[in-house]
């Protein structure tokens, strides 16, 4: 499961320690010769800290990055600009019917530290321990209606599903739940890996140690038997929450690769640090302004539409995303099945129309509160929005929440706050399958993650059917229709998917998913 939509809280709070800045004049000379000086150490920053070596306890992209280095999957994402996958452990893998996927493993793929060959037993064990209610897995939702894994030979097996489940290919097999675990080793330690150094690994790197709150130190795995061996002797996954801090760390040579803040892009383009390059990727996150339809203030659809029209997305992007991000048309980013080419209401909005709608609703001045996360991009966006909706007759006050309070605003389990909730500027994280986006806006999700309390029978049906639809074109159509329904309800104003600018030294050749998130296992020396 994804950590709550990319938890960037207050930057300083998450700005964390990392290896010392070698920028100091005197100390630089005294520092021991570090491995990277010889090009054999890689330091990649991660924005959310990997917490565990056991996938069942994984909570987000931090772990996905770690597991990419130390574990192997049947298939893996291909680095580049389009989403796709390549075989890793799998010799072959294919959808044999709507509800079955058959796979054959490459022979001679080994566990480290003498745990033998990777077999179909291990694959079955991996998915079935995830299914086991006793195991209380955090990543259970990812595998959807998987029923069991049948082992048909040492190197072959079949996944059986209760109903068709297309997203298995995009969010399960190559992601957290698809990281194959060693049956013998896991059973030896009592069924769950609780140490930071797992008993055995299969990926190109192995764990030397974890320094909590700081970094995971990985070494080349000498027992790796795949076709993409480690390019570096040592690879550190360095946790720094804040982009500005990460940028400083990169400039002082402590990092080889990091995402930077949108606000830094222009400056880094004009004046890049020596020997660095920057790449820009469209991100998958989706940012939107939502309205709580259960609040009497927003009962009148015209009021909701007035707010939709009053928001000028372009101005917000110019100020808070420094003009490097594009307006979004919905919750599904370009490049994914179901992306809408354009939204119904244009990004620049229409103050005139907003005013007319308010007049029709009989409202002179509308007083509303916008809730945002304590994060510089969002608080800046909120201030700009406050300025741009004022001419339409909307007085916006901003309420900033730290993450603890923000993520429970609309949750019914947590008191009565959801009743008075008004506007929310929100961001959810995303994987390359549209079902991962629509899942949070169904009727079932009301009071859980559907804080707009949007309820539409057609939408619910589309979400359910599209998940099992195997024809890409029909799926595409269904998800586009689903987003039309969201926008037509008046409860959503889509802002942006953001952008992922990566800054890195030219001594490394980075490998990223199409959304810019790094696939560290594929990084190489330039």
């Amino acid at each position: 499961m994804q950590k709550s939509p990319r938890q960037r809280t207050f930057p300083a709070l998450s700005r964390r320690q990392l290896l010392g800045g070698a920028a100091g004049l005197s100390a630089a000379a005294m520092l021991p010769v570090t491995a990277w000086a010889q090009g054999t150490q890689l330091n990649v920053r991660v924005y959310t800290e990997p917490d565990t070596a056991d996938p069942l306890d994984a909570s987000g992209f931090g772990e996905a990055m770690l597991y990419g280095c130390i574990y192997r999957n049947l298939i893996q994402y291909v680095p580049g600009d389009t989403w796709g996958h390549r075989n890793d452990l799998a010799e072959s893998i294919e959808q044999t019917s709507d509800t079955t996927i058959a796979f054959t493993l490459k022979a001679g793929q080994m566990w480290s530290d003498g745990y033998g060959e990777i077999t179909a037993e291990d694959v079955a064990f991996t998915f079935e321990r995830n299914l086991d209610p006793e195991m209380n897995s955090r990543i259970l939702p990812d595998i959807g209606p998987l029923n069991r894994v049948e082992v048909t030979g040492t190197h072959s097996g079949v996944f059986h599903f209760d109903e068709p489940y297309a997203p298995f290919w995009t969010i399960a097999l190559p992601y957290l739940s698809g990281a194959i675990m060693c049956k013998a080793a896991v059973e030896e330690v009592g069924g769950r890996i609780k140490t930071n150094v797992p008993p055995t690994v299969s990926g190109p790197y192995r764990v030397r140690e974890q320094r909590p709150g700081e970094r995971w130190v990985l070494d080349r795995n000498p027992d790796y038997s795949g076709d993409m061996p480690a390019e570096f002797e040592r690879c550190d996954i360095v946790y720094i929450g804040d982009e500005a801090a990460a940028e400083i760390a990169l400039e002082s040579g402590d990092l080889d690769f990091t995402e930077v803040a949108p606000g830094s892009v222009r400056r880094l383009q004009d004046n890049p640090p020596d020997n660095t390059d920057m790449s820009m990727h469209p991100s998958l996150f989706y940012v939107w302004v939502g309205m709580n339809m259960a609040n009497p203030k927003f009962e009148d659809k015209r009021v909701r539409q007035a707010i939709q029209y009053a928001i000028n997305v372009n101005t917000i992007l110019e100020a808070a995303w420094y003009d490097v991000a594009e307006p979004s048309t919905g919750i599904i980013a370009p490049g994914l099945i179901g992306h809408r080419p354009e939204s119904i209401i244009p990004p620049e909005g229409d103050t005139q129309r907003a005013r007319e709608l308010l007049d029709e609703a009989g409202i002179d001045r509308l007083q509303v509160t916008l809730n945002v996360l304590n994060d510089v991009t969002f608080t800046t966006a909120a201030q700009v929005m406050q300025a741009t909706v004022a001419p339409a007759g909307i007085d916006l006050s901003i309420e900033v929440h730290e993450s603890g309070s923000f993520w429970t605003l609309g949750v019914e389990d947590d008191g009565e706050r959801w009743r008075d909730l008004e506007l929310i500027m929100n961001r959810f994280s995303m994987l390359p399958d549209p079902s991962y986006a629509t899942a949070w806006f169904t009727t079932e999700q009301i009071g859980d993650w559907n804080w707009e309390r949007f309820s539409n029978e057609e939408f619910d049906r589309l979400h359910k059917e599209a998940r099992t639809e195997t024809d890409p074109e029909r799926r595409d159509e269904m998800y586009r229709r689903a987003q039309d329904l969201m926008e037509q309800s008046g409860a959503y104003r889509f802002i942006t998917h953001g952008v992922t600018p990566n800054l890195y030294y030219t001594r490394v050749e980075p490998a990223t998913r199409p959304d810019g998130l790094p696939l560290v296992q594929y990084f190489s020396r330039a």
Partner: protein
Amino acid sequence: MTAFKYTLAGRLMADPLAVMALLIIATLVGMAVFADLIAQHDPDAMNIADRFAAPSAEYWLGTDNLGRDTFSRLLQGGRIALTVGLTAVGIAGTIGLVLGMVAGFGPRWLDNALLFIFDTLRAYPTIILALALAALMPRGLITVIVVVVLTSFSEYGRVVRTQTLSLKHSEFILAERAMGASFGRIVFHHILPNVLGPFFILAAMNLPVVITIEAGMSFLGVGVPPGTPSWGTTLKDGFDHIRQTPWLIVAGGLPLILVTLGFTFLGEALRDQLDPKLRKSR
């Protein structure tokens, strides 16, 4: 009474530090009060094209991440700082004064209970208590004031209590009592005037501390709402954009340092004048 005041003012004016302190304070207060007249820009007017501008004839202290004029915002920030400072010190001082005298005069158990409360409140690192409390209450100036009052009244309480205790047993009070003076007369004519000296020194020293807590809370994002031109939010904006411009931090810190300097010097000077024991040792 007027004679006393006159001589105090006179003595303060003879102390160059005190004069400097009063000048700084007068300037800051003046700028806060007449902010609207002095500012050349609307403190909330955004101008994205001019963001992160360095100081210039147009923008005296540069602009922030939304192109708003830093100088005009700091002037407004002065109002917030003074409002929070004076209100919080006033409330905390009053509570502390009353509780301190109650502790000093009251029965032993009450004294002990109050002392225990004072000590417990002092055991929290200020800013951590502020964080925990701010998460409980809606964001805004009221919350900041409540937090500051909670964290600072115990200090007044302790000082007033100590002062009251030492006076209670002093000869002239005992004499007054023996002569049958009423409780109210003793409190208002003898204790209160004598307690007020150290009390005002503490208040003068405490005001900048309170202003700093407000700035600190806003810096941590638990103070005033974003967009409010407080000194703390300016520093926070500067910290967030430290790679883009150094001027926000430089400018945002100046008024905090000045106000602290001003009131600390004033407190020092007051102490020199009001606290005979210290004056002698100088």
